[in-house]
């Protein structure tokens, strides 16, 4: 019964990532009836928010060879109409001269910005927010079905030091900054849709400005915490054969089994590597956003992916597009990380008796430690003798 419930929840979560609209390709349209211009089908597809093949516009930029003689009455545009020129500006096919300085100054219209805006306001908010609500609901259901995981036979009353002060400092530096980043990031992403209708634009403007300041600056604490925890714990998080035994019994989460584990069990190793890999990725994309146009990385990444995987990602990106890809990637990575961390917070607090003490005061009950990290307890006892009495 429990495994069926779990499978249904996993399936429901998986469907959140099913996005049929993204998979649609723009169909070839016969434009002979309009002489190559927009057709009724194009208009209908646009109204239905479907992709259209806009090459009839983006490639219709006039031809200087068709220029009328300079002495003629209509010769000044050099073979290009105003419409041709504005299309060229829209599709960034001109080399303008501008007195504005900066890496993005010569992009006068950034046509792909609409696609970014729609993706950000649509699927990113819908599926990202949905995933957060789904994991909270799933954990609530799990709590009512499974209940709090108790220390079997009750606590021993004897404590053993699990994490030193520097380890806990690194953990809370990372955790505290991540929670601040998550809340301010969600405010920035979703405030326009969900907070302005509640609090009004003036109050939200103040909140948004504060959120942006905190998000941009506390990011450095997150990165420092990430580096600290990586170096302190990486040696304990190397996968081993023991992890497979732990995974095979689901860590005893769904049963009352207590698989053997060292300092970190397989579940904790999964959390560790999820935080490290996604934390590194969200930090890189965040740095790209913190220093606008200074750290473009998607054109090169797409180029490498195209050559290795044979994909067709665009590699000729405007500076704005680089930022937009970084923004979308940053949001997706952050949502996945938030989902993982919400589950981590659950099991480290209300989900398991005695777990919070490990990061709360650094000392855990000896019986809790024996049930969840028996091999680590044996190692500690072999080195230092029995645990301290309370």
């Amino acid at each position: 019964m429990k495994s069926k419930l779990f499978s249904a929840a996993v399936f429901a979560l998986a469907t959140l990532y099913f996005t049929p609209v993204w998979a649609q390709e723009a169909p070839a349209v016969d434009r002979t009836a309009t002489g190559g211009a927009q057709t009724l089908e194009d208009i209908m597809r646009r109204q239905e928010q479907l992709k259209i093949d806009d090459s009839f516009r983006s490639e219709n930029l006039g031809n200087p060879a068709n220029a009328a003689p300079i002495g003629g009455q209509l010769g000044t545009l050099g073979g290009r109409s105003d419409s041709d020129i504005y299309r060229a500006i829209r599709y960034n096919s001109i080399d303008p001269s501008t007195q504005v300085r900066g890496p993005a100054a010569d992009v006068l219209i950034q046509d792909e910005g609409i696609a970014w805006y729609k993706l950000r306001e649509g699927p990113v908010i819908t599926y990202g927010g949905g995933a957060l609500l789904a994991i909270i609901a799933l954990l609530a259901v799990f709590y009512f079905v499974r209940g709090r995981i108790k220390i079997e036979g009750g606590p021993a009353g004897t404590k053993i030091e699990r994490f030193k002060a520097i380890e806990r400092f690194g953990h809370w530096l990372l955790a505290g900054s991540f929670i601040a980043l998550g809340l301010t990031g969600l405010t920035t992403l979703m405030g326009r849709s969900f907070l302005i209708p509640v609090m009004g634009p003036e109050a939200f403007a103040t909140l948004a400005a504060g959120s942006k300041w905190l998000h941009n600056n506390i990011a450095w604490a997150f990165m420092l915490g990430l580096v600290l925890t990586f170096f302190m714990w990486v040696a304990h998080n190397i996968p081993s054969k023991l992890d497979w035994q732990w995974i095979k019994v689901g860590g005893g989460i769904f049963t009352s089994a207590h698989p053997s584990a060292k300092k970190f069990n397989a579940g904790q190793k999964i959390v560790f590597w999820t935080v490290m890999v996604l934390g590194f990725s969200v930090s890189l994309s965040g740095l790209s956003l913190l220093f606008p146009f200074q750290m473009p990385m998607f054109a090169e990444t797409f180029s490498a992916m195209n050559s290795v995987l044979g994909t067709g990602f665009p590699t000729d990106l405007t500076p704005h597009e680089e930022m937009q890809y970084a923004n979308i990637w940053h949001s997706i990575m952050a949502f996945v990380l938030m989902v993982a961390i919400i589950a981590h917070i659950y099991i480290g607090s209300v989900g398991m008796e005695g777990a919070f003490d490990a990061m709360g005061n650094g000392k855990v009950d000896l019986e809790w430690a024996r049930q969840h990290h028996d091999l680590w307890v044996a190692e500690v006892e072999a080195k230092q003798g029995k645990g301290d009495s309370p």
Binding site: A105, A165, R168, H171, N217, W220, P292
Partner: protein, 41 residues
């Protein structure tokens, strides 16, 4: 719990120090679009 609170305070200290330090290193977003003089070509 003292360690947890110290880490939260440290995160805030880093947040307040970050813009000052970045400025000391000479980075500011205004620098990116600054030019020495207006070109008239």
């Amino acid at each position: 719990m003292k360690v947890m609170i110290s880490a939260f305070v440290a995160a805030l200290v880093i947040a307040f120090a970050a813009p000052v330090v970045l400025n000391q290193f000479g980075w500011s977003s205004a620098e990116l679009t600054r030019s020495e003089s207006v070109r008239l070509d």
